[in-house]
């Protein structure tokens, strides 16, 4: 069987659909989570969802359903603790993370299942996606996308300044709960492809990549969805291609591909930020004593290679710690 034949396999097609939707939904809600500076919230919900999967294995119910229920409950509990618990919210969250993971592994053992069963949920698996799963995943992903994009003005206001949003008349607690629940739902959506332990990466890394180049929230959100899509689908294909030689779960390839995209954009983002700092106009202050440069045989101009930074009504050329402004036949030190 060749590499291209893979795409004619029905489980591969289902996996691709799931990956595409996951790649769109997870960064969309992830942007609001990063805006709230809760980048690790997704990680916590993922850990709690492990217990949900294990409960499904123990009771014979669909692990996807039990994971959704437990992840949503965990997300709501975290939100309540975070909102009410003053300064030590992070400790409470940590308690929940570890409880979720340890409980999940213990219950899986009690269910008579080994680590191999759990592994498919922890790091994703290509061929574990059943036709009913893919419909379920698609429906949940579309709900997440519609709600996130439809309510984005409200979610943006709440995520950037909850006090202001509350005074403006928004039900901040309800919106915060909604963000947590949407995060829990998209985590269970992503469970089949990326896996619970790596899912948070798909919520955060595309946002980090996109904000290297974007200046507006809107561009960051759309860019993150694009990066997420590329990473999820590309990572899945890479993992399928590698499957001829070794068994590689799709989760790690998806996350590493997203990180590679971050690594590729970061130097560009760093250069743009450096450039904008360098070119920020100098403040206009009242005249300082007139100082001319010593003999300066270099001719400054737009093409001379030195950054020309606006300073009031003229331009200062910056080099070697000096700011040279043209003044008749000579240069002034500014």
């Amino acid at each position: 069987m060749s590499f291209l034949d893979l795409f004619s396999l029905s489980f591969m097609q289902r996996a691709l659909v799931a990956a595409l939707l996951t790649g769109l939904a997870a960064p969309a809600i992830g942007t609001f989570i990063v805006q709230r500076r809760l980048a690790l919230l997704g990680d916590g919900i993922g850990h709690v969802a492990v217990t949900g999967v294990a409960l499904g294995l123990l009771t014979g119910a669909s692990p996807t359903w039990t994971a959704v229920v437990v992840a949503v409950l965990g997300a709501v509990l975290m939100e309540v603790i975070r909102e009410r618990g003053h300064t030590n919210g992070d400790v409470a969250l940590a308690l929940l993370f570890y409880g979720g993971l340890a409980g999940g592994v213990l219950i899986t053992g009690l269910a008579g299942q080994g680590a191999a069963t759990l592994q498919a949920y922890l790091f994703g698996s290509l061929n574990s996606i059943s036709p009913s799963d893919v419909w379920f995943t698609a429906a949940l992903a579309i709900v997440v996308l519609v709600v996130t994009l439809g309510l984005s003005p409200q979610l943006f206001a709440v995520a950037s300044d909850p006090e202001f949003a509350r005074v403006a008349g928004l039900r901040v607690r309800a919106y915060n709960m909604l963000i947590a629940v949407l995060a829990a739902v998209s985590i269970t959506v992503a469970m089949r492809t990326v896996g619970l332990l790596l899912v948070s990466a798909l919520m955060v890394v595309p946002v980090a990549t996109s904000q290297q180049l974007a200046r507006s929230f809107r561009a960051t959100l759309l860019g993150a969805m694009g990066v997420g899509c590329l990473a999820a689908v590309g990572g899945l294909v890479v993992s399928a291609a590698l499957s001829f030689h070794a068994s590689v779960a799709p989760g790690p390839t998806i996350v590493l591909l997203a990180l590679a995209m971050f690594t590729a954009t970061w130097p560009l983002g760093a250069w743009i930020r450096h450039r904008s700092r360098l070119m920020a106009p100098f403040p206009e202050v009242t005249a300082t004593p007139h100082r001319t440069t010593a003999d300066h045989d270099h001719a400054h101009g737009p093409e001379c290679g030195h950054p020309g930074v606006p300073h009031g009504d003229h331009v200062d050329y910056v080099h070697d710690g000096h700011r040279h402004a043209v003044h008749g036949e000579h240069y002034d030190e500014h």
Binding site: T31, V34, Q35, R36, R37, A39, I81, R84, G85, H86, T87, N88, G89, V91, A92, L95, G150, L151, P153, Q154, F156, A157, A159, S160, D161, E163, F164, A165, R166, V167, A168, G169, L170, V207, Q211, A214, R215, S216, F217, R218, T220, L221, S276, A280
Partner: protein, 269 residues
Amino acid sequence: MLVTDADPAVPVALDGASVAIGGRPILREVDLMVRTGDFVTLLGPNGSGKSTLVRAVTGLLPVVGGTLRLFGTPVEDFHDWQRLGFVPQRSTATGGVPATVREVVASGRVGRRRLLRPSGADDRRAVEAAIEVVGLGDRASYGVSQLSGGQQQRVLIARALAGEPELLVLDEPTAGVDLPNQQALADALGRLKARGATIVLVAHEIGPMMPLIDRTVVMRDGRVAYDGPPLTQEVASHTHHPHDHDLPGGHDHAPHVASPFDWERRTRP
């Protein structure tokens, strides 16, 4: 004509109002009336209850005794929150994700926008007008993080103005802002005052705002210590009481809880 508390023309009326945080009384029996068109400054040392008063007026803290009426309606029954604009006390307008000045200011319209509807021409006009009032018209598509601290404070004011409020409440917008930016801030508030806006301002430094102020209220230890013609900060700190020096690290009204699962009810239900 006698003005009463229940007059819908009175934006803020506190009558014997008390506010508690974590069971400890912070504001005690405060009487205060702000009439339409007033420009009132709240002065007082750290921990005197200025911010608590502002948080009660904006509905962020519940009033446990006495009454608070906003535009004549008791605060429990008040739902027209878009009539009130709030500039919270914070040093930056940035979040975890980049956003432009226009996007941050546009978020001030949420109180007036219907769910799941795109923004209309009215929304866009109000946003551009608010950016213009604070003098950032040429920076509207800049990222907020590219602006200086004083410019970010003006973005936060524009955000409150975008909701076209009748009453504007500002909590220390001048903290850590250099003089040229304080002047720009004062210019923006002057334009609003000229349009008939009602303004309540908590401040540590009055500076260039002095000519705009109609009335000063000095808070001390949770009570109103002075309510009358404008005072400067220097005079206010020496009125009635010796100057009290702020405790290092600020003053906590209620000790913070030590265990992650303990909490106090501190918000309105």
